[in-house]
Symmetry: C5
Subunit: 249 residues, 5 copies
Amino acid sequence: MSAPETLEGWFSLHDLRRLDRIAWGQVPRSDQAKALGEAADLLAEAEAVHDASAGRSVTYSMIGHKADLMMLHLRPDLSQLHDLERRFDDSLLASFMSRPYSYVSVIEISRHGAPDGTAEAIEDTPYVQSRLHPEIPDHDAYVCFYPMSKKRDGDDNWYRLDGVDRSELMRAHGRTGRRYAGRVSQIVTGSMGLDDWEWGVTLFSDDPLQFKKLVYEMRFDEVSARYADFGPFYVGRRLAPDQLAEWAR
Amino acid sequence: MSAPETLEGWFSLHDLRRLDRIAWGQVPRSDQAKALGEAADLLAEAEAVHDASAGRSVTYSMIGHKADLMMLHLRPDLSQLHDLERRFDDSLLASFMSRPYSYVSVIEISRHGAPDGTAEAIEDTPYVQSRLHPEIPDHDAYVCFYPMSKKRDGDDNWYRLDGVDRSELMRAHGRTGRRYAGRVSQIVTGSMGLDDWEWGVTLFSDDPLQFKKLVYEMRFDEVSARYADFGPFYVGRRLAPDQLAEWAR
Amino acid sequence: MSAPETLEGWFSLHDLRRLDRIAWGQVPRSDQAKALGEAADLLAEAEAVHDASAGRSVTYSMIGHKADLMMLHLRPDLSQLHDLERRFDDSLLASFMSRPYSYVSVIEISRHGAPDGTAEAIEDTPYVQSRLHPEIPDHDAYVCFYPMSKKRDGDDNWYRLDGVDRSELMRAHGRTGRRYAGRVSQIVTGSMGLDDWEWGVTLFSDDPLQFKKLVYEMRFDEVSARYADFGPFYVGRRLAPDQLAEWAR
Amino acid sequence: MSAPETLEGWFSLHDLRRLDRIAWGQVPRSDQAKALGEAADLLAEAEAVHDASAGRSVTYSMIGHKADLMMLHLRPDLSQLHDLERRFDDSLLASFMSRPYSYVSVIEISRHGAPDGTAEAIEDTPYVQSRLHPEIPDHDAYVCFYPMSKKRDGDDNWYRLDGVDRSELMRAHGRTGRRYAGRVSQIVTGSMGLDDWEWGVTLFSDDPLQFKKLVYEMRFDEVSARYADFGPFYVGRRLAPDQLAEWAR
Amino acid sequence: MSAPETLEGWFSLHDLRRLDRIAWGQVPRSDQAKALGEAADLLAEAEAVHDASAGRSVTYSMIGHKADLMMLHLRPDLSQLHDLERRFDDSLLASFMSRPYSYVSVIEISRHGAPDGTAEAIEDTPYVQSRLHPEIPDHDAYVCFYPMSKKRDGDDNWYRLDGVDRSELMRAHGRTGRRYAGRVSQIVTGSMGLDDWEWGVTLFSDDPLQFKKLVYEMRFDEVSARYADFGPFYVGRRLAPDQLAEWAR
């Protein structure tokens, strides 16, 4: 079996942090304010992408026990993502936080069923460029991130399917997704050789019920029902840098 | 295969906390009392649902090592649940607690076998409304919460079953459940796209032996025997806000 | 498939604790003595069952890294077990301990192959009553506890077996067990709806080699070989309350 | 299927410890020296087997992050192993260590294919006695310990094999092992009913490459290829009690 | 089935560390500088291989939450690797670090399909010697490390394949790898009997996108698609010893 051609865009880091509330509670109020101010400045600088020629950065306040904060960074070079996490590591706020999870990947467009060698021809089109270097719309308040892999279990082995069959299954899956156009947008990132699962899926919406509706409907697509293994799901709410002070009262 | 229609009600947060007894033991008695008073006020306000137009909140003292406290919140908007957990995070008591688990989901009624498009017609009926926005009866002292998924393993793949077969299996399962009417009530919440398992099941009863009897009997239903994967089980006992001070002597 | 009838006796809590030796090592000797004295009193009161109309409580010093102490409590009501763990939680000794594991279940007698509705007829016989409310013989120095479930994997699915076949497999298993009569005694507790596995098995013997011999021999019974999934195994040695002071020198 | 006869020798405890370097680093040099001296005395006493009528004890410095120290104790009674771990627990050094793992088992000789009831006849022969109560040669600098179980997965179910087939598979495996005679020696311990896996394998050699060669070659034996499930592997280097002071500079 | 012949070179230790930022943040600046200087000296000495007759050592700053630092050491003897980790353990910086992972293995060349006994004949050729004792090129800024095993699941059992089939599958896999010559170099280490997985794969490249491209393409090779189980993936960026001070500002 030969691998489908892929196009890659920005590298991506999902950087999740959890506040150690016992340690944080022992910090004097004035130092807390200083720590939050410094961190807010770092987030604002990242969102302004002063550190690189291009990219995106947004921050989320996470719902549930898995994490408190998620910074999502997109940059042309992996080293820029590493610099961003190191810079946050060096902040006073980070010294009261653990890192329960992170995810390293790269934006990927898969060319299932497309003739070999045609990727190059379309790579420079504005449509493809906009998907490889996507906007993250400000009006979408909620995020849903989950990593996933394709199964290789006995008869349910994605990587042993005929390429034509794989393409048809992906196309059907795409049709389900398109029914959510305007309600949910997504970024798919590839992570083989970069992190533990094979792909990361990041969904954006103003209505978190749409995450449930979309993922539920897609689970009945054969590509999910038969071939998908899902990792943990992280759900959060957009947090502007200037909301950080209030966030960690 | 197409997904069965669903109706959704309130969003749900199961928020589990564990007291760090070493840290707590070093807090002066007067500060402990202050922390417990503040937390009791927060729980009472949540149970009074002053923070939203509608919803429910109840608290449980958990049995066994998995957690000490579980707050169960139901609210119309996910952001309201996030506000509730953040408000508790900011309390003094929470600064001596870790979060061993939580669960984000939304109340779901599944319309297995019902004709497509009929969900809308019934959504506004009082019966359906009462299931989407349920009471939590005060006289039920015990709670049992567990997340679960449907299997997708080789021949035992729920999502590849014919819709008619799925409906029949669910109906048989419902008949088992109805034999426990009056002894156990339940809320089923959907969590695809929101948390790691596919559904959450929350059972309420005055007699915890009924949890065992019900789950045991249901396990022999084909839908459980063949298609269910179960997560951890959490069992607790109702705790009124004004019992909190005595709870953490 | 219909579930076999069961009879239930006392609720059961296996409460395992681990001493945080770094924190404990910093406690002055006099406070250590006070903490051990208070805890020994709690254990003695529990063993005397002053807190309830009936029940049993015994304590074990656990072998290996998984836990240091296991309190095994049997009581008529689940709330009594919860009170016992909370009372221990409130002790000074508990504030230097974590809880690596616990298990909530209820003593169960399964009536595989018995005609439906006959359980009631035998429930009040002295033999059945003594199994539902068992003694824990003082002369048995060792305990072995492990939780387990029955498999539901492809063709190896206990819950899809015919009831007659299940009964025959359980009877053969019982014959293996009876060969250890006088050397090993056991309590089987059901935990569906109460904890993560389906059953707990607690073995008692003066000779821990018999645990190995019994479990080894039983593993070749078809009911274990084909249908059993085993959780962690905990082994300990009886500790009388008045040995506690020496136990944590 | 009936279980093959087994003979059992000494009980065994693999006791692994990890130094908490942050806590240890805050201990004054003089107290460190005192703690190391006390621990070295305990190890020397254990190696001299003053605590029991017979047995062996050796200590290893472990390679990699999984543990820092492994004490391997063999004794006639399980209670003697428990006394040894408790005595170490009570030392000052142990109060700066956690226990990442341990393993409780008993030396086992399996009589695959031997006629029933003949075990007794051979138990008192010098050869069998020397295997049930083995030497640990001083010149073997390296140890490799791993727990393992036999599979019970669908068609690959060791416990449902015919006894004759099991014996033939074990004999072939033994032939592979014997090719390493003089280079690697081993102790096999049974742990059903005592710990989480079914057996522990402890290998000794002066050349750690032989561990790799032996385990690699054996993996192609049908008994491993088809029926073995392996737990974590721990590798260490012999540490004499009087080397302990230098070990934790 | 008989095992393919293998040749072994240097032993290998992947030593991963994570800085405890809460503890580190409480260290005075001057002590931090002292700790970083001492650690930089240790890394420089290791890279200069003063401790052994031969070998390699390089250090990486790791991307994501899994670790902060990875030291990769190659040495003729396992005891030399153990000495290196112990020496780092004894440093002041290490007393503020935990060890989230490590990997013990040995460089391996597998002679799939080669006639038995020919390994010896080629072992001393310069080509084989250079693969058993490899350079780590200074210009390759990125590393990707992951452990892996071959499956033994039902029909997908690598160890039950005919040797000729195994060889052909490995040859096809090699052809995929060779398409990345000049872009990615790799070291394969065997770890049976030494660590939990069967092999470690360490990739080096100036362009981390090549890790993704290579691993993605290889996953469609039958040897990966059908027979590979992958562990965690660790990605990092080369860090020279004299960059350490700036690394942990």
